[in-house]
């Protein structure tokens, strides 16, 4: 889609003013930690997307691009903080420039401002995943399957598929719960009807028989069938005068009172008490489990947040959220609490039979209290109402479950029973008993009236249950189809990604894992990931593979996913200090793999490891001028590169201020850096150090000695071939080199390395200036006087054949005539 030709950064993050010119090719930024590499990555991400994920991701509360994007000294001038990038757009055959300022990050200035170019820029802006940091890379590898699924789906831009799945599942679960509640309501209505009918089992035949017996007493025609609209008191006068007082039907009142007392006895029975004890024990166990408590509390909080979300603003922090992102964010957090959710459901199952009984008593208390108020004289049912209130509190605590202590307390209060209602029950029984006995016709009339009322309630509850079940079945079926279809599609995607991933990983590790295989196993909402470990079986990547191998896997998986996602449009990626744990042998292979498998992709790589950079160069992933080498960073200047002109000028400026200590330190650091490069390109022998901490005393004398030897060989070879010009050129270089080396006195360090340059800091300015001059002369003689490139040996492996520079000005043959 795009290639980066150049990037200019101004007053942005830790950078004051810097331009890099990758020219559409792979580019590396190398430097120790804290030299500003990440600032370059931030700038690239910002100019292409308008965002800096480092300032907006998880755990970055209080940070923002607007406030913290500008350099700290420009924090009040966001318009002065901007990044400009020049892009090549191969598909359009055009170049474009984007300039984006922190002041107005959503409106970049695009030149030329053409619709096609703007579309490309907008598309790039939607794909922040072109930046991969080690932190992200390891997320794919070591994450829990649920979380990995989210990360991978986000990278593949498939969050919407997952969000919809979560929504369908939530609706399916909710409608099943609603059907469960409705079933309880219907069962309760059925029990009330059966009680009123006074039949052993609620069947149509039993109902008709019982009803027709009463209808016969009233000379009403028998009912032969019970249709949904049939009234069992059909034919009976139902008109009541408005002044008629509420009539208490003796038999019904008596039955209600008996039922309540029975239910209360059941609640106090040893069976229910045993259930309460078991439930309390379960709660006590969970109360000891701090992880559950934290998790369950968070889960409940998240569910409440989800329920209270109004499609625009987070109900907790008032931050505006896109609905899809908000739900995905909460769903991702909920995955962490899946174990707590499981434990909670188990406890709810233990509590359900107790809760059902409590709710039955609550309903009966309401009915009996109403009865007391309807009797003449009124029976005071305050004790029943108080108990009713208490049970409602118990029911609420058991339903809410959290806090667990409250639920346990509620269960304990059930065991106490309630003796205070007994006198009220006696008064009620007495008042009901005193009601006149109705005659046979009145009893039949009362019977049919009550049964009709309860039949209506039962019919409504049954209709509601039928509808709730139908919704639940539909929601479940749709969810199952959705899950099945999306899993099938994701399976196909992951199979392809798995194949590419395995191939890339084998390319990097062909020396010892040539048979490597991987398995990406998607299941609903999860993505399992197992890898072969030397033919011993499939295990999670973190089980046996080293950290370095895991880093390699992360990169390969990222590349496989990106290739699937973007296909030919995968033309640009930033690899921010990834692969830091990969051993040197495999780094070379990683570089080769990137170069060979992704020839159309421009990689922008950062590393703090110079050896890693060298591998990239040796393999050809990075061209000789395709890197910026940062040496230091300070808040006033930002990152500084290893640049000869800068260094000598900087040393002079320190000396002008009589700061010999600073000048000496910089000279030493620069010479260390330069000597490493010289030893590398001249293939000098350096005493091996296991910790790779080579000092200037280890490096510079070896570089000088090697250069002298090569020039001597070049001279001898030219002589053997009779090449007078080359002989003279080599002789001249040799003489210049010998003079410079003698002037620096560095060769003597081999006698007692580290002593001499360690004393620089204590020299006087006048004594140190000649030292600087001598070393500048020495450094200059390592380079071609025309192109200023350090002379290098070719080839970079096997026997040296030539000593050359970049422009061809120096081209000494090292092979003598046989």
């Amino acid at each position: 889609m795009i290639l980066v030709k150049s990037i200019s950064i101004h007053e942005f993050r830790g950078v004051r003013d810097l331009t890099l010119t990758p020219d559409g090719k792979n580019f590396a930024v190398c430097g120790p930690n804290g030299t500003g590499k990440s600032g370059i990555v931030d700038a690239l991400e910002f100019v292409l997307t308008g965002n800096i994920s480092r300032l907006s991701g998880e755990g970055t509360g209080g940070l923002s691009v607007k406030e913290h994007g500008p350099h700290v000294d420009s924090r009040n001038r966001p318009d002065d903080a901007y990044v400009t990038v020049t892009l090549a757009i191969p598909t359009l055959g055009k170049e474009a420039t984007i300039r984006r300022s922190v002041k107005d990050p959503r409106n970049p200035k695009i030149t030329p401002d053409e619709a096609a170019i703007r579309r490309v820029v907008e598309r790039v802006g939607l794909h922040p995943e072109f930046v991969l940091s080690r932190r992200e890379l390891i997320r794919y590898i070591l994450a829990e399957p649920g979380k990995r699924s989210k990360e991978v789906l986000a990278l593949l831009r498939l969050e919407q598929v997952e969000t919809l799945r979560v929504q369908f599942q939530r609706i399916a679960n909710a409608t099943e719960r609603e059907a469960g509640v409705q079933k309880t309501v219907q069962e309760r209505a059925g029990a009330a009807l059966q009680s009123a009918l006074n039949i052993p089992k609620l069947t149509m035949a039993a109902l008709l028989a019982a009803v027709n017996e009463r209808r016969a007493l009233l000379s009403l025609a028998p009912l032969t069938v019970l249709e949904p609209t049939t009234s069992i008191k059909d034919g009976m006068s139902t008109v009541a005068t408005p002044t008629q007082p509420v009539k208490v039907i003796k038999v019904d009142a008596s039955a209600q009172l008996t039922k309540l007392q029975e239910k209360l006895s059941e609640l106090a029975s040893s069976e229910v008490q045993a259930q309460c004890v078991a439930a309390q024990a379960s709660i006590a166990k969970l109360l000891q489990d701090e992880k559950f408590l934290d998790s369950a509390t968070s889960e409940e909080f998240l569910q409440q947040a989800l329920a209270a979300y109004d499609e625009e603003i987070c109900p907790v922090c008032d931050t505006p959220w896109e609905p899809e992102k908000f739900r995905a964010h909460i769903a991702q957090k909920l995955v962490r609490h899946s174990e707590a959710i499981k434990q909670r459901r188990a406890l709810e199952n233990v509590l359900k039979p107790i809760l059902d009984r409590v709710n039955d008593v609550v309903v009966l208390c309401t009915g009996v209290a109403a009865l007391g108020a309807a009797l003449k004289p009124v029976v005071n049912c305050a004790s029943i109402l108080t108990y009713h209130e208490h049970l409602q509190t118990v029911s609420k605590a058991m339903t809410a479950l959290l806090p667990l202590g409250k639920a346990r307390e509620a269960l304990g209060s059930l065991a106490s029973g309630d003796e205070t209602m007994k006198p009220t029950f006696e008064q009620l029984a007495s008042a009901i008993g005193a009601l006149p006995e109705p005659n046979v016709q009145e009893t039949a009339r009362d019977y049919l009236t009550i049964c009709q009322e309860r039949l209506e309630t039962f019919r409504q509850a049954s209709a509601a249950l039928k509808e709730a079940r139908s919704k639940a079945e539909l929601a479940r079926e749709v969810f199952d189809i959705y899950a099945s279809e999306t899993t099938k599609a994701l399976d196909a995607i992951y199979a392809e990604v798995q194949e590419t991933f395995g191939r890339l990983y084998r390319l990097v590790n062909h020396d010892d894992e040539e048979q490597f295989q991987a398995r990406l196993k998607p299941s609903i909402g999860k993505l399992g990931f197992d890898v072969d470990f030397y033919g011993r079986g499939f295990f999670p990547p973190g089980a046996y593979h080293s950290e370095g191998h895991q880093d390699g896997m992360g990169l390969c998986l990222y590349l496989a996913l990106m290739q699937h996602l973007a296909g030919d449009a995968f033309t640009f990626a930033v690899l921010d200090d990834v692969l830091m744990s990969v051993d040197s042998g495999h780094r070379r292979e990683v570089s080769k793999m990137l170069q060979q498998e992704f020839p159309k992709t421009q990689f922008f790589l950062t590393t703090h490891d110079e050896i890693w950079l060298r591998h990239m160069k040796v393999v050809g992933l990075i061209k000789p001028n395709g890197a910026a080498h940062f040496r230091t960073w300070n808040v006033d200047e930002g990152p500084t590169e290893w640049d000869d002109k800068d260094v000598w000028g900087e040393i002079d400026s320190f000396l002008a201020k009589n700061d010999v200590r600073a000048a000496a330190a910089l000279l030493r650091n620069y010479l260390e850096h330069f000597s490493k490069e010289a030893c590398h390109v001249l293939r000098a022998q350096v005493e091996f150090r296991g910790d790779a901490q080579f000092t200037l005393g280890d490096l510079l004398p070896s570089a000088i000695s090697r250069a002298k030897k090569l020039l001597k060989e070049g001279k001898a070879a030219a002589q053997s071939w009779g090449q007078t010009d080359n002989f003279e050129k080599a002789q001249k270089l040799e003489a210049a080199f010998a003079a410079a080396a003698a002037g620096s006195n560095a060769e003597q360090w081999q006698v007692n390395a580290a002593v001499h340059y360690n004393e620089w800091a204590s020299l006087h300015r006048n004594d140190f200036e000649p030292v600087v001059k001598a070393f500048k002369a020495l450094v200059d003689t390592f380079a071609c006087q025309t192109c200023h490139a350090v002379l290098f040996v070719t080839p970079d492996q096997r026997s040296p054949e030539g000593l050359r520079c970049m422009c061809g000005g120096v081209n000494l043959n090292l092979l003598k005539k046989a």
Binding site: L158, P323, L474, I481
Partner: protein, 69 residues
């Protein structure tokens, strides 16, 4: 070879923006369409599932129809 299923898939995908995500959701719509009893549901669902901002309430209405007042 173009078969009915491919045609139906293309039809469903046309509702979306052509992204991989919408292609997958389109395949779900096609699978649902194969069940005649869900004709009404499919018609309603295909109007909302491609919307990245679809809410639970809209999905419920699409699944079960408008709530009666």
């Amino acid at each position: 070879m173009t078969n009915d299923s491919t045609e139906a898939k293309a039809q469903a995908t046309r509702h979306g923006n052509g992204s991989v995500a919408h292609e997958i959701i389109g395949e779900f719509i096609v699978a649902l369409e194969a069940r005649p009893q869900y004709a009404d549901v499919v018609a309603r669902l295909s109007k909302v599932v491609f919307d990245g901002r679809v809410s639970d309430a809209s999905l419920r209405i699409a699944l079960f129809g408008e709530l009666e007042l």
